[in-house]
């Protein structure tokens, strides 16, 4: 009995020692979501940041889906990391729930120096009079074309003013001439980007103002599905069975020189560019076909950096935002791969040192601004479920299980039900 007691005591003691040892002297916790290539950038910045400023950093990074799962769990447990990345889709609900710190005081104290940052670049992070995040970069989407493959086929690289019908013809023609896919279905199936631009270009929005239903005519979806189905059935894009299971960006046809175009965010655009450049030649970004006339494009803050309300390392987290905003070495390292720097000084500093891929997106962001209209409202919470049903519908139509009309009808019924709940 005595022995047992001693053993139990020892175990308890050991557990106690272990937990206290873990609690003491924690480094600043930092988290983000990202692909493999963007993770490299974040990790690089973290390393430079902790070396230059002598601040220990613990990095945690996940894919988009897992990130929000994890962050919501941490928020519920009141254990958010000190420094975190926010997206337009979620920042409002995080602010409403009081999970983020108002940065105004930190700016006034000079811990975050925004003296070179224009007001327009700051206002994106303002909610109800407080500054809850600094947007360190903006992005958009576009259609990436492989210049060499298209000119080799004796065709012209499309311009910004291309209509959707002309784009469809381009894809068909390119396939007819080369036997290579004219576009990549991985881009065309994208509800969030490609289809959103298509809807906006046809005078709608994905969701209505009350966000309790879709915000566009059913016929728009019918037309879109019909167009994609024509491309698919002609063989001018890959078979739908190739896009039902995620294969990773590097295995998509565009990355392997098996497709002449793909829709992408500008951030990922640089990744695609670097992947195909050496083997298949340079790429160029254009706006989503058909977006010119109605200004269907948009510019979206993509790099919201925030600090948790209950952060333990407030000053360190502020220093991180400041580092990203104002440090020459940091911005030289990033060299525009996360969007144009918000500080005017940094933008012109980096502008002179860009590599080809970043230069392409820099130029694109300037050109596309002429075709952009007001940014859409943050998506409703049911967005991800509607998004998933869009893929199902999209695939059902291409597999021939539904006609485009049936697909559109089904999708509208589903969305009305989920959004109305």
């Amino acid at each position: 009995m005595k022995k047992l007691c001693t053993v139990l005591m020892a175990v308890l003691l050991a557990a106690l020692v272990l937990t206290t040892a873990m609690a003491a002297d924690e480094p600043m916790r930092m988290t983000w979501w990202g692909s493999e290539s963007s993770n490299k950038i974040y990790l690089g910045v973290s390393d430079m940041f902790s070396q230059e400023l002598g601040i220990e950093v613990e990095n945690e990074y996940l894919s988009w889906d897992d990130y929000w799962t994890k962050l919501n769990t941490l928020a519920a447990a009141n254990d958010l990391p000190d420094s975190l990345r926010m997206d337009l889709a979620y920042i409002k609900s995080y602010v409403d729930k009081g999970l983020l710190m108002d940065l105004t005081e930190l700016v006034e104290k000079g811990l975050i120096d925004l003296s070179d940052v224009p007001e327009s670049a700051i206002s994106g992070g303002m909610f109800d009079g407080g500054l809850y995040a600094i947007n360190a970069g903006s992005n958009s989407i576009g259609m990436l074309y492989n210049v060499k493959m298209i000119t080799d086929a004796g065709m012209e690289v499309p311009g910004h003013e291309l209509t959707w019908a002309e784009f469809e013809q381009f894809v068909l023609d390119f396939y007819a001439k080369t036997g290579i896919y004219g576009s990549d279905l991985w881009g065309l199936r994208d509800y969030n980007g490609t289809f959103r631009a298509y809807v906006r270009s046809n005078g709608g929005q994905l969701y209505n103002e009350a966000q309790d239903n879709l915000g566009f005519e059913q016929q728009i979806l019918v037309d879109y599905l019909n167009s994609i189905k024509r491309l698919h059935d002609a063989g001018a894009v890959q078979n739908v069975s190739e896009i039902t299971v995620d294969v990773g960006r590097e295995n998509q046809p565009y990355s392997k020189g098996q497709a002449a175009s793909i829709t992408t965010t500008t951030d990922s655009g640089t990744t695609y560019y670097s992947m195909v450049k050496d083997t298949f030649g340079p790429s160029v970004l254009r706006i989503i076909p058909g977006s010119a006339e109605n200004k269907g494009m948009w510019v979206k803050p993509s790099q919201f950096m925030a600090i948790a309300k209950d952060a333990e390392h407030v000053e360190e987290a502020a220093a991180y935002i400041n580092y990203w905003t104002n440090s020459e070495s940091c911005n030289e390292f990033i060299s525009g791969r996360r969007g144009v720097p918000i500080s005017n000084k940094m933008a012109s500093f980096v502008g002179s040192k860009l590599d080809e891929a970043s230069k392409m997106t820099f130029d694109y962001m300037v050109e596309m601004a002429a075709y952009a209209s007001e940014l859409y409202d943050p998506d409703p919470i049911a967005h991800s479920e509607v998004d998933a049903e869009f893929s199902t519908t999209f695939q059902s139509v291409l597999f021939g299980e539904m006609t485009p009309e049936e697909g559109a009808k089904h999708f509208f019924e589903f969305a009305a039900k989920v959004l109305g709940e």
Binding site: L4, D65, N72, A75, K97, T244, V245, S384, E401
Partner: protein
């Protein structure tokens, strides 16, 4: 009469010894008891409560009555996922058990180096839930995968069928992966086979029984307790299957591999309908219980215990 049945009064020493034994026993299982209470029953009860609420995982749960349960009846994907999960369980479990028994019969013999083979055949089960295997699987059965490579060689014409991407075959690729994880049932079968007294087989041989007769009249009946155990565990695990579907197909194409557990995860963590996901979990518990009870009840009729 009464004196014979009445308990003998314990001496003081015996009582003390007994209490000490109980204490030691409790001490030994205390980590498990603690775990059960804190990490299993509290979350379970909480999830029962959540199943009657509307809860996005972030804010405060709001009372929602039976609505989560009612909504299930109108949820098309829910019913699809129920159907697919039944299909998965009823094809996978018999297949996996047969595979396990077949391999176990071969490995139950006493050849030299048989231990090595047993280990080798068990390895897939060790790796079973792992992400790496799921990724290998999606490569094997993809368009450029090894399966198509072999078929191309055998058929002499190029095969580009996407086994995991086509709605017709996606679920079966997952079932095949499940079959491949027969290792743990196999080990239990091996030990069960070794329990069967050799003398039965010798007697049957003298009476001129054919191999099939020996298998069906001796091996199978003697194994029924082990089969029963493997069947129950197999059914429960198959209903809970999750990671393969998440990693290889993510429920696609068109929800054809949306296993029940995966759909629970999606509702809870992707669509932020935690209350609904909790309600679905309880429905899953109910389904598993019904099947387990059914198997247990039926076992009187086909499981033979040696007395």
């Amino acid at each position: 009469m009464t004196a014979a049945t009445a308990k003998k009064p314990m001496t003081k020493g015996a009582r003390l010894r007994k209490r000490r034994n109980n204490l030691a026993g409790l001490a030994f299982i205390s980590p498990w008891l603690f775990g059960l209470l804190v990490f299993t029953s509290i979350p379970m009860l909480y999830s029962l409560y959540l199943s009657f609420t509307k809860f996005d995982g972030l804010g405060d749960p709001k009372w929602y009555g039976l609505n989560n349960y009612i909504n299930m009846f109108q949820d098309g994907v829910f019913w699809k996922s129920v159907g697919i999960t039944f299909q998965y369980v009823f094809i996978l479990v018999p297949l996996r058990l047969s595979a396990a028994l077949g391999v176990a019969m071969v490995l139950a013999s006493n050849h030299r180096g048989i231990g090595l083979y047993r280990t080798v055949y068990y390895i897939p089960s060790l790796l079973s839930g792992s992400v790496a295997i799921a990724i290998i699987w999606s490569k094997l059965f993809g368009t450029d995968g090894a399966i198509n490579g072999i078929l191309t060689m055998m058929l002499g014409r190029p095969m580009t069928y996407n086994w995991v991407g086509e709605p017709a075959t996606a679920l079966y690729s997952l079932i095949l992966l499940g079959c491949w994880h027969f290792g743990s049932s196999m080990l239990i079968f091996v030990s069960g086979l070794k329990q069967i007294p050799q003398s039965y087989y010798e007697a049957a041989l003298i009476d001129g029984a054919s191999p099939w007769q020996r298998f069906s009249r001796i091996t199978l009946p003697m194994l029924t307790p082990v089969i029963f155990f493997n069947l129950v565990m197999g059914i429960i695990n198959a209903f809970k299957a999750f990671s393969e579907a998440l990693i290889i197909t993510d429920g696609g194409p068109m929800n054809r591999t949306m296993l029940f557990a995966l759909y629970i995860y999606k509702q809870g963590f992707t669509y932020f309908k935690m209350g609904y996901a909790c309600a679905m979990s309880w429905v899953l518990l109910l389904i598993i219980s019904v099947f387990s009870i059914f198997v247990f009840k039926s076992s009187d009729g086909w499981v033979h215990y040696e007395e």
